[in-house]
């Protein structure tokens, strides 16, 4: 049963409510990641572990697969890591549990405070873009946890990717705390802390290597594979219509085999473009996708019998258009999963590409209809 809890009692907060399901996170002291308390003169502050347990890893897998990932969060507030004191650094993070886990596992042996913001269970970079990992929330949260009474210094270390949502100078104006941007990757935090809170150039660069690209694929597949049942029904309808009546007895295997190139088209537009992104020519994702679709189209047109397609130009033409359209649609969609595409660029691509996909799909449908008509009139 969901419980609505008022998130902030600080004077400068907007009292937005957060819904937290009855789970281990309802009661942080029973969470597998908590490790007792640090006694502070004014409060008992929850201590957190720096090791991930089986439950955390399972949770990460589910999140990456897109299973219940809108409900994978922890309470915002102040947490202790190690045995921090009034001089220990304060790191700021989001309340998405995956973020929280990826952060704390890099902090073995450190003594610091973790200020967890209410980003509604969203990771740092996305929340920053939306403004929830934001100036207002930081100011609010500092007030709520009474940070000024916990540490004697006035420094907050924020993840660099929180920057799109936070006006550092405004946080300082409102709270007196100076905002310092730490490295992009949590793994670089220990070096950053040792190096007098200075980040090297490489620590400030965002990459998008193969592992990063593949990590975002499962969620995209989760969404895109939902098209398969619809495609099955459409292909079934097409195969059922014959001059000799509804072909209920003979459609099943052919329709399933018809589906195979469509499954491949979806995989090319998600996993394919992710894996081969830097190796595909062109900067445009639509053009990269079209290149990926080409071998599939050639395969289907050259060996239609393998997939139980009739060897007829009109039909194969239709499928070629549909398959290319599907790969290109999902490949274009992948622009939303990258760390480097600009909004202006995506807008430009989309304005050109979507009408083309729509028209080619329409053309494919016309070809399919004409084919059926020719079968009936002979």
């Amino acid at each position: 049963m969901a419980k609505k809890i008022s998130c902030c009692s600080g004077a400068s907060c907007d009292n937005s409510l957060i819904e937290i399901e009855d789970s281990v996170f309802d009661d942080p002291i029973n969470a597998t990641w908590s490790d007792g308390y640090v006694d502070h003169p004014r409060a008992r502050i929850l201590k957190i572990k720096t090791t991930l347990e089986a439950a955390d890893i399972l949770g990460a897998v589910k999140a990456r697969l897109g299973i219940n990932r809108n409900d994978y969060s922890i309470y915002p507030g102040l947490y202790a890591l190690g045995i921090p004191d009034a001089n220990s650094p304060v790191l700021v993070t989001a309340n998405y549990k995956l973020t929280f886990d990826y952060l704390r596992r890099e902090l073995e042996g450190q003594n610091l405070w973790l200020l967890v913001l209410n980003t509604h269970g969203i990771n740092v970079w996305c929340a920053a873009g939306k403004g929830t990992f934001g100036t207002g929330e930081i100011i609010c949260r500092i007030g709520q946890v009474q940070l000024a009474n916990v540490v004697s210094h006035k420094k907050l270390i924020l993840p660099q990717l929180g920057a799109p949502g936070v006006a550092g100078h405004e946080v300082t104006r409102a709270t007196g705390f100076k905002v310092v941007y730490g490295p992009v990757r949590a793994a670089d935090i220990p070096a950053f802390l040792r190096n007098n809170h200075r980040a090297s150039g490489d620590m400030r660069k965002v990459k998008f290597n193969l592992a990063d690209r593949l990590a975002v694929v499962p969620v995209e597949l989760n969404h895109s594979l939902k098209l398969i049942p619809l495609l099955f029904v459409l292909l079934l309808l097409f195969n059922l219509i014959t001059p000799n009546g509804w072909a209920w007895n003979t459609v099943w295997v052919p329709t399933l085999m018809n589906l195979v190139p469509y499954l491949i088209a979806i995989l090319l537009g998600t996993a394919g473009i992710a894996a081969f992104l830097p190796y595909l020519p062109f900067r445009s994702f639509a053009l990269k996708s079209l290149l990926l679709a080409l071998p599939l189209v050639v395969l289907v047109v050259s060996f239609p019998g393998v997939f139980h397609f009739p060897d007829h130009a009109l039909v194969l033409g239709a499928h070629a258009l549909f398959l290319a359209g599907i790969t290109t649609f999902f490949g274009l969609n992948f622009t939303g999963c990258t760390t480097y595409t600009s909004l202006s660029g995506v807008r430009k691509e989309t304005i050109y590409t979507l009408p083309v996909i729509a028209l080619s799909t329409l053309a494919g449908l016309v070809l399919a209809v004409i084919y059926q008509i020719t079968r009936f009139s002979i």
Binding site: A128, A163, G168, K205, P278, S344, G345
Partner: protein, 71 residues
């Protein structure tokens, strides 16, 4: 491998006259679009900009503008 996206589309604008040389924009940019030259920030790699808005929101002098959209 540094991948780049479409060229000459981004809405990033930097007014060097307003720049106070605080260097914050060069620290928050995820793609090293900006760099310090003669104590002022300059756009050195415009086509690498992803319009995230980190530089603009963190500029205390309001010297940077970019259309970052809904994030």
């Amino acid at each position: 491998m540094t991948m780049t996206y479409l060229k000459n589309v981004v809405t990033l604008r930097l007014d060097t006259h307003r720049c106070t040389g605080c260097q914050t924009c060069t620290q928050v940019c995820p793609h090293q679009v900006l760099a310090m030259e003669d104590k002022k920030a300059r756009v050195v790699n415009r086509n690498a900009c992803m319009e995230c808005g980190a530089c603009a929101i963190n500029c205390p002098a309001d010297a940077i503008e970019v259309k970052s959209g809904v994030g």
